[in-house]
């Protein structure tokens, strides 16, 4: 019953975003062109690296690093299509006090702010990422097994959950420090590091990108899954890690809401 109600609500919110997007149809072309351009531009550091080396960090050759970049492009599409637009919206509401009205509505506030805005045209990035992964496999002259793809999709879900949880953590921070309209840039900047396989990093960097800002969970592990090189232990751990992250984010959100005192009072 509850689930059905929230499902309907999600439908309404998405329809509203879709209608807005349809008004700006030219955006589709712009997003498409931008996405293609970024795809090429993002490859430059990788090309510099692989001009000198055949393999880095054990077994990351050029095509498998391409799979990570493909995964990165896909997740960036999700980030900028489904996560960032709402982030901008909710931070603005907290600052102006309009968030009060969100709290008054008879539905879960976290659900409402998370689904308030979508940028459907970003789907172009997702398609671009998939195309890059397919190209990488063509270069390797093989196809991933069905099991690997299924595992990769499960990890994609957990990657999206981690990304979303990080986002909730960031939004919760906005309750305490109100003027944070630039948070999306920080988010994008940090996420940028996810284009590299985490094994390329050593020491403190590897630790941070695996456990503190789990970029490994978002791009490296799913890419390894589709390449068929991930251990089942790592896969299970990253699924569990995503769930822990989600729970943590939910707890902090509740704490933040309790401390929310509106912009004017």
């Amino acid at each position: 019953m509850r689930a059905a109600r929230y499902g309907r609500l999600l439908g309404v919110q998405m329809r509203a975003s879709a209608m807005t997007a349809m008004q700006y149809r030219v955006d589709f072309l712009i997003e498409g062109a931008m996405s293609l351009w970024w795809l090429g531009w993002n490859l430059i550091p990788l090309l510099v690296l692989y001009r000198e080396r055949d393999v880095i960090a054990g077994d990351w050759d050029f095509p498998s690093a391409l799979v990570v970049i493909g995964w990165f492009t896909m997740l960036r599409g999700i980030l900028e299509g489904a996560i960032n637009p709402s982030l901008v919206d909710v931070v603005d509401r907290i600052r102006t006090g309009a968030f009060d009205y969100t709290l008054l509505k008879p539905a879960d506030a976290q659900f409402l702010v998370s689904t308030s805005r979508f940028a459907p045209w970003r789907v172009v990035d997702v398609i671009g990422g998939v195309a890059l992964i397919i190209y990488a496999f063509v270069r390797m002259d093989r196809a991933p097994s069905a099991g690997d793809v299924a595992l990769a999709l499960a990890l994609l879900a957990s990657a999206a959950l981690v990304l979303y949880s990080l986002w909730i953590l960031v939004v919760s921070a906005a309750f305490w420090v109100v003027r944070l309209d630039n948070l999306t840039y920080l988010f994008t900047a940090v996420f940028d590091a996810a284009r590299w396989p985490v094994q390329v990093f050593r020491g403190a960097w590897r630790f941070v990108f695996t456990f503190v800002i789990p970029l490994a969970l978002m791009t490296t592990y799913p890419a390894m899954a589709v390449l068929g090189s991930i251990g089942i232990g790592t896969a299970l751990l990253s699924l569990a890690g995503a769930l822990v992250f989600g729970a943590l984010a939910r707890a902090l959100w509740k704490l933040a809401i309790r401390n929310y005192t509106s912009a004017s009072s």
């Binding site: 531009w41 510099v48 080396r53 880095i56 960090a57 630039n182 590299w196 390329v200 020491g203 960097w205």
Partner: protein
């Protein structure tokens, strides 16, 4: 008001504007820190390239691990000293009509923008200090130049790149007067900047054509030029020549920015604001 009177007013107002700017930066310190955190990419690249260098017996192409450490720490410092967010500020003020308030003041808006952002430089120095200390204490300090003349030229180059960065961002900000989807353009700008300025990868590691192209863009003079000067890659004569080019770009950017601003404000007034 005559040009002379306007200039005099600007000069008289500058100390106050600087004080206000610093107070603002301190008051909104959380936002300030977030802005600075967005340019920590050199630290990520530092981790990446030192690992790659370690794998290949301590070097990648002509770069040793210490070279990378020195390069990226100096890049991080210069980037954070010279960065500002005037572009986002202008965009926001145009969209919300706040610009009218600024236009009412008897001082040219460029002066008020520049003062408010330049005032945050002391705060930026404080944030950058730990990285300078790390560099001074690490073995990588051997990669820096010891020539006092080059260090003085480095300071001049940093000042030049602050001005050039500011004017470039103002120019882009002026585009908000004309283009609705200007934010997408900024993303492209950030991407091009990251490569051509040596922010992501030292220019010598890039393919030849990218390096040649970078010579003809202002981006190189916004970041790579001061960084490379402090690393002692050029002799004094070269640096003076490059400094001349940097100021040439400053002049060009100033002309473009002023022209765009004038045309833009006329359009803005036509909206009825």
């Amino acid at each position: 008001m005559t040009v002379a009177a306007r200039t005099l007013a600007s000069i008289r107002a500058t100390p106050t504007l600087l004080r206000v700017g610093l107070a603002e930066a301190i008051a909104y310190r959380a936002e300030f820190v977030v802005w600075m955190l967005t340019s920590t990419m050199p630290l990520v690249m530092l981790g990446l390239w030192t690992s790659v260098a370690a794998e290949g017996e301590g070097a990648f192409a002509q770069f040793t691990a210490d070279d990378f450490i020195a390069y990226y720490l100096v890049t991080l410092m210069v980037r954070n000293l010279t960065g500002n967010w005037v572009l986002w500020q202008i965009n926001d003020e145009i969209r919300r009509g706040l610009l009218s308030m600024r236009l009412l003041r008897p001082v040219h808006p460029f002066v008020t923008y520049a003062a408010s952002h330049f005032a945050s430089v002391p705060l930026r120095c404080v944030v950058v200090l730990p990285f300078a200390l790390i560099l001074a204490l690490s073995a990588a300090r051997a990669q820096l130049t010891g020539d006092p003349a080059l260090i003085a030229l480095f300071a001049a180059a940093v000042l030049g790149s602050w001005i050039l960065t500011f004017l470039t961002l103002v120019t882009l900000g002026c585009l908000c007067f004309f283009i609705e989807k200007s934010m997408a353009l900024f993303e492209v700008y950030m991407g091009v900047f990251a490569i051509f300025s040596g922010y992501l990868i030292p220019l010598p590691l890039l393919p030849g054509w990218v390096r040649d192209a970078a010579d003809w863009t202002p981006f190189r003079y916004m970041l790579a030029f001061p960084v490379e000067t402090l690393l002692g890659w050029y002799d004094r004569g070269d640096v003076l020549g490059l400094l001349g080019r940097q100021w040439l770009f400053v002049g060009v950017m100033l002309a473009i920015a002023l022209g765009l601003w004038r045309a833009g404000v006329r359009r803005f007034e036509a909206y009825g604001a």
